[in-house]
Assembly symmetry: C2
Homo-oligomer: 249 residues x 2
């Protein structure tokens, strides 16, 4: 069974183009490397109702949800109250996080920074391994929702510190490079796809490359089915194949 995930990027600044998204981009690659099946990415505004509804739905549909942004001390940081609202719970100060904050800033800490210790009631803290920053300053997790900061360097660091808990079995894959337009071989491709329903086959025209016109990708949790689908395509598309990358038998 695939372990599934969804990503919710929270931030007016991404939707308005003030900053380019870096966090979804990073996490898409990281989850692929961990063998996790990412099912949806949504970029949404700093709006409490939108955060509430979106995160709740993601939490019900996917094994893991990762949020980015909206967790600072200013008026536009809505993620914690949004998630609490979505699950019908309260926002509370987490004593262990408050302790981290007070140790970090010392006696001159501005009171506003206490917002950084706010969590939806019932949230857990997930520390990274000994020696990591996250060992001391853990990730806040509510049910299956991991709440990460929007600043890209912190987002990456916190995710990498806890990533091993998400490692799953990667799917076996193959790639075929075809020097013909999709329409020329679409019927043959469909026949092979229908004959091997447990193999996911994608067909991607590429206009920038010169040695091929379409990349076919195949993925499966069944090595035998994958090999059979590749063999089927090698035969059906022999006239146009320029390269095949497949697992060794």
């Amino acid at each position: 069974m695939d372990r599934t995930a969804g990503i919710v990027i929270i931030g007016d600044e991404i939707l308005s183009g003030k900053f380019a998204d870096e966090n979804a981009q990073f996490l898409i690659g990281a989850l692929a490397g961990l063998g996790v099946a990412l099912r949806r990415v949504s970029i949404i505004p700093d709006d409490i109702e939108d955060i509430a509804g979106t995160v709740r739905r993601f939490s019900e549909r996917f094994d893991w949800v990762f949020t980015s942004g909206g967790v600072g001390p200013t008026h536009d940081d809505m993620t914690i109250p949004g998630i609490a609202h979505g699950f019908g719970t309260r926002v509370v100060l987490h004593p262990a996080l408050e302790k981290v904050l007070r140790e970090y800033w010392g006696p001159t800490m501005p009171e506003a920074n206490l917002r950084l210790a706010e969590v939806p009631e019932g949230a857990e803290l997930v520390p990274g391994p000994h020696g990591t920053t996250t060992a001391r300053w853990p990730v806040v997790c509510y049910r299956n929702v991991y709440i990460l900061p929007g600043v890209p360097v912190l987002f990456r660091q916190k995710f990498l510190d806890i990533q091993e808990r998400f490692r799953s079995t990667p799917m076996a894959s193959a790639r075929l490079y075809v020097n013909a337009d999709e329409g020329v071989f679409a019927d043959q491709l469909t026949a092979v796809a229908l004959a091997h329903p447990t193999v996911k086959i994608g067909s991607y025209p590429r206009f920038a490359e010169t040695a091929f016109r379409v990349l076919l990708t195949l993925e499966s949790r069944d090595d035998g089915q994958l090999a059979a689908a590749v063999a089927g395509l090698e035969q059906a598309l022999a006239a146009w194949l320029v390269r095949v990358d497949k697992p060794a038998p």
Copy 2:
């Protein structure tokens, strides 16, 4: 009134990290330049039910919806049937599009390419200005949903050819660069934000720059309110301001 938009990127290949998203990235910037308020971006799989539900909801919530991908001739191209399903209509062959295809490929056109002329019944064709590629090969639009191809060079070209129909009034904006941590001035910032509810104020910590620690952005459709909010912040944050970019009075 803001004109609003949503973007739906359809493609397993983006969620699995095989290809990086270029189209949302491009369109976020283009819509900002046109003064359109982008409210949501979702990246979803090649799944007919997911496409149906997502596009339908976007269509009801936003003035304009742009989809990317899933419009080729192969088995994994689900966008047209997905959108038709979402609105409870049928997929039909559009005679004008069929004519374009037959002229382009000539008598040797593979029959599979006829899928490129399929549209949800009732769709309109939106041509670009005279002389553009899109004048001949128009964009398919169903209700308020503009259906664009996933190949980035085609996506950009088709959008740019029809972009003038989306041009709206840009909001007035200002930026303040603050050399202090957010917690230090969060209370003053909140007071100014509450006093000027028609001004949207964002607060973004930046860790890479050296001359400031937080970027504040202000946006409004009311020039007077924008100027008043900037003046309020210039006074409240005077001790830490390193730069102010604002409209000339």
